[in-house]
């Protein structure tokens, strides 16, 4: 028989049978036993896996001393070497949910060990960790324990054995927010016609793409004296030095590049576009059409602006995920801020 997979269990003081609210301040401890829900959970794993022990921590202690609590807990995880960590279920207990989420994020981020937990959909812990852990959707009180544990155990088995995880509604977990491409049994046009017919007949229909929610960015304050300001040039128009030395992608960029432009008066001549989302002919003739270094340098000479920042930053915008774009923006923004840049000309295509 195959070796049993090892589960490490996390519970709070109440489910760890230490006590109620009055014991919420207790520091974490580890017991090589199946305590509270870990006992029933262990039974559900059958011959395939076993709970090797339970970590118990007071909810107040965790939330008020997160660093210390996590240091202890992570040490236990490292020593015990579980295949998977299970926390909760926390139902609608906010502090317990946040503790489960804190443990889940640390275990996934630092050790890349999968985590299964259970929470009521409105528990604040859900938003904290749902993208990293599998959060089984459970009732709002401990009365839902009997329903919660089998779902959590099923997911645990699948994860431990490396099996494919099904849709959230099939497996009972709260969507992690991953949009995965799969095959439908009908082509897209057929699905569109059926959806339209449902709408026209006043029948129920379900969109395949709920509209995204956008961040709102407050504009920075105006620069009061441009003649003293350092201005940087940043583009998502795919303008790079000839030969594309950093191999930035023509679509769906995974990186950005920065190039010293302190000694040139224009991009024309040394730069071209690798952007896959527009007609490149005119940009290749004159890349300053996309990223106007030529004009900025003129303004610098005329004293209209104080200085053009010595590095030019660039990436490709077409098909680039917002996740990557956000990362690039934070990284580039940090560099510019540290360099004392006052303003940025940011061009697309």
């Amino acid at each position: 028989m195959a070796k049993k997979f090892r589960v490490l269990y996390y519970v709070n003081q109440f489910f760890g049978q230490i006590g109620g609210e009055e014991k919420a301040g207790v520091a974490p401890t580890f017991e090589a036993k199946t305590l509270g829900p870990a006992l029933g959970f262990n039974g559900l794993l059958g011959d395939e896996g076993e709970v090797i022990g339970t970590i118990i921590c007071g909810d107040n202690y965790f939330n008020e001393n997160k660093e210390e609590a996590l240091e202890y807990i992570m040490n236990v995880v490292k020593e015990q070497k579980p295949d998977i960590v299970v926390a909760g279920p926390a139902f609608n207990a906010g502090r317990y949910g946040m503790a489960c989420a804190g443990v889940a994020n640390a275990v996934v981020d630092e050790l890349n060990i999968p985590v299964v937990t259970g929470m009521y959909v409105e528990n604040p812990g859900v938003e904290e960790c749902k993208s990293k852990a599998y959060v089984v959707s459970v009732a709002d009180s401990a009365g839902g324990m009997r329903e919660a544990l089998p779902k959590m155990a099923n997911l645990t088995k699948k994860l431990a054995k490396g099996e494919e995880i099904g849709l959230p509604e099939e497996e009972g977990y709260i969507p992690q927010g991953k949009r995965l491409t799969i095959f439908s049994d009908k082509r897209g046009s057929q699905r569109a016609v059926e959806m339209l017919l449902s709408r026209l007949n006043g029948e129920a229909f379900e969109t395949e793409l709920p509209m995204p929610v956008f961040d709102k960015v407050e504009p920075a304050k105006a620069i009061e004296d441009l003649s003293k300001a350092t201005i940087a040039l940043v583009t998502s128009g795919g303008i790079v030095p000839h030969g594309n030395p950093d191999r930035i992608q023509s679509a769906s960029a995974q990186k950005w590049g920065k190039y010293d432009v302190s000694n040139i008066d224009a991009l024309t001549g040394e730069y071209y576009t690798i952007h896959g989302g527009y007609d490149p002919v005119y940009a290749n003739e004159k890349p300053d059409r996309v990223a106007p270094l030529d004009l900025l340098k003129e303004f610098e000479k005329e004293g209209k602006i104080g200085k053009v920042y010595e590095f030019f930053y660039t990436t490709t915008g077409t098909g680039t995920s917002v996740g990557n774009a956000t990362k690039f923006g934070v990284e580039i923004g940090k560099e510019l801020k540290e360099a004392g840049v006052d303003g940025v000309i940011l061009t697309s295509t």
Binding site: T181, I182, R187, G188, F214, A251, S252, G276, D279, V281
Partner: protein, 428 residues
């Protein structure tokens, strides 16, 4: 208009001494085809190759796919306004070599060309792994400007399809599909109680490798325009090899536009299908306002109750898609949108570049950045190294053993926004 698409089922392809169809087997005289294409002095060299479903063959970089056909009755054989003289298409009889496709490859023009795998994992992701493909590899003379290069390749593909289509002229079809629809007045009289439905087909119209053509007119130059659905099924609209491979509407997909076909199927049963509005996706804000307002006005004037809108490409055209949706919904016209999404390698990013609360009914045809692994091919037609510069590829995505990793971006027709393929997205 009444159009008969008379399908001759092609069951195999081979080279031979003449270009003929016999017992479902398409034979091609390679030399004659090459000479025909080399009549264009801008073409230096042509190679022709065959790829059958199931063969361990990879085709790259693919520019366009075209269905070989011949019109045996009625005006407008070929592609009027492009390869043949102007004619009003949409009526008559067309013999179709159904199951065969001309696929153009050759020196890369831009980054929007793609991959077709005829077998295994890759075959699942493209509808053109199921066709018997005649691959035409075109090498132009040196020194052609990019726009001329693109045009040369585009015309060569269309001509190849016309030449091969001729082989079907006197062959009895296996199946005859009839598409008939009268004037709006006639159809409304026949089906007074059925909801009136329009199809808005957006065409990217943004320069080299980003244009569509209608009777030879670059879609950049038009105001949104109404077509009888038969016109598109009969060769009025062709691809300018545009946009990322995954969601470019190839000429083949215009000839067999799946939204038109699926709406036609319902015409007279559940809906009264009014026709197709072709809408250019322009780059300027003014252009977007003009075309979106104009499209909404056409839909309203024609009395549509419901509209299906399909996008081509992604990014800035997402705005056009949602602007049209918003305008129509405000007029009380119900919409369904078809689009793909850019949710990143991990699927965790927001899927569109724009948003509007009116877009309540959307069909998703896949994440263009979904990464797939393709095993090595026994034979590559074209140039495998192109993958590192194509949209959807990257430096290092081609492994030493010939296997590759790429985004769906690079796979022809994988996330077709006219819903030609079966991909969709689920939230996990």
């Amino acid at each position: 208009m009444k159009l008969e698409l008379r399908r001759i089922h092609i069951k195999d392809i081979q080279f031979g001494n003449e270009t003929v169809v016999k017992d479902g087997i398409l034979t091609i005289n390679q030399e004659e085809l090459v000479n025909k294409l080399k009549e264009d002095k801008r073409i230096k060299e042509v190679k022709v190759d065959l790829a059958r479903p199931g063969e361990k063959v990879r085709i790259i970089p693919v520019k366009d796919v075209i269905e070989p056909r011949v019109k045996i009755e009625g005006e407008g054989n070929g592609f009027p306004g492009v390869t043949t003289k102007m004619a009003q298409v949409g009526s008559g009889k067309v013999n179709v070599l159904y199951g065969a496709a001309v696929v153009t490859v050759g020196d890369i023009v831009g980054f929007q060309e793609g991959v077709i795998d005829m077998w295994g994992e890759g075959a699942k992701w493209t509808p053109f792994s199921k066709t018997y493909n005649i691959v035409v590899d075109i090498k132009p003379v040196e020194g052609l400007a990019p726009h001329t290069h693109e045009e040369t390749v585009r015309l060569a593909g269309l001509k190849a399809a016309e030449y091969i289509g001729e082989a079907g002229r006197n062959i009895e079809p296996d199946e005859v599909l009839v598409y008939e629809m009268g004037s709006h007045a006639e159809e409304s009289k026949k089906y007074p109680d059925l909801p009136r439905v329009l199809y808005v087909e957006m065409l990217i119209s943004q320069g080299l490798l980003h244009d569509g053509y209608i009777y030879g007119v670059n879609s950049q130059l038009i105001l949104p325009t109404l077509l009888h659905p038969n016109e598109e099924l009969d060769g009025a609209v062709i691809s300018g090899n545009c946009v990322a491979a995954c969601d470019k509407i190839t000429t083949y997909q215009h000839q067999n536009n799946s939204v038109i076909l699926d709406l036609y199927e319902q015409h007279g049963k559940t809906i009264n299908f009014l026709g197709v509005i072709l809408t250019p996706e322009l780059t300027t804000l003014e252009g977007k306002f003009r075309t979106c307002d104009y499209t909404a006005k056409l839909c309203k004037t024609l009395g549509a109750d419901g509209v299906i809108i399909s996008e081509e490409g992604y990014g800035n055209p997402d705005s056009d898609l949602l602007m049209i949706c918003k305008r129509l919904e405000k007029e009380g016209i119900k919409t369904v949108l078809i689009t793909d999404e850019c949710s990143g390698w991990d699927g965790m990013s927001q899927p569109l570049a724009d948003t509007t609360e009116e877009a309540v009914a959307v069909v998703s045809t896949g994440n263009v950045s979904h990464v797939i692994k393709l095993e090595p091919a026994d034979k590559v037609i074209g140039d495998i190294n192109a993958i590192t510069t194509l949209a959807g590829g990257w430096e290092g995505c081609l492994k030493e053993d010939g296997s590759l990793q790429c985004e769906l971006n690079a796979v022809i027709g994988s996330t077709s926004e006219i819903g030609y393929h079966n991909c969709t997205v689920k939230l996990y």
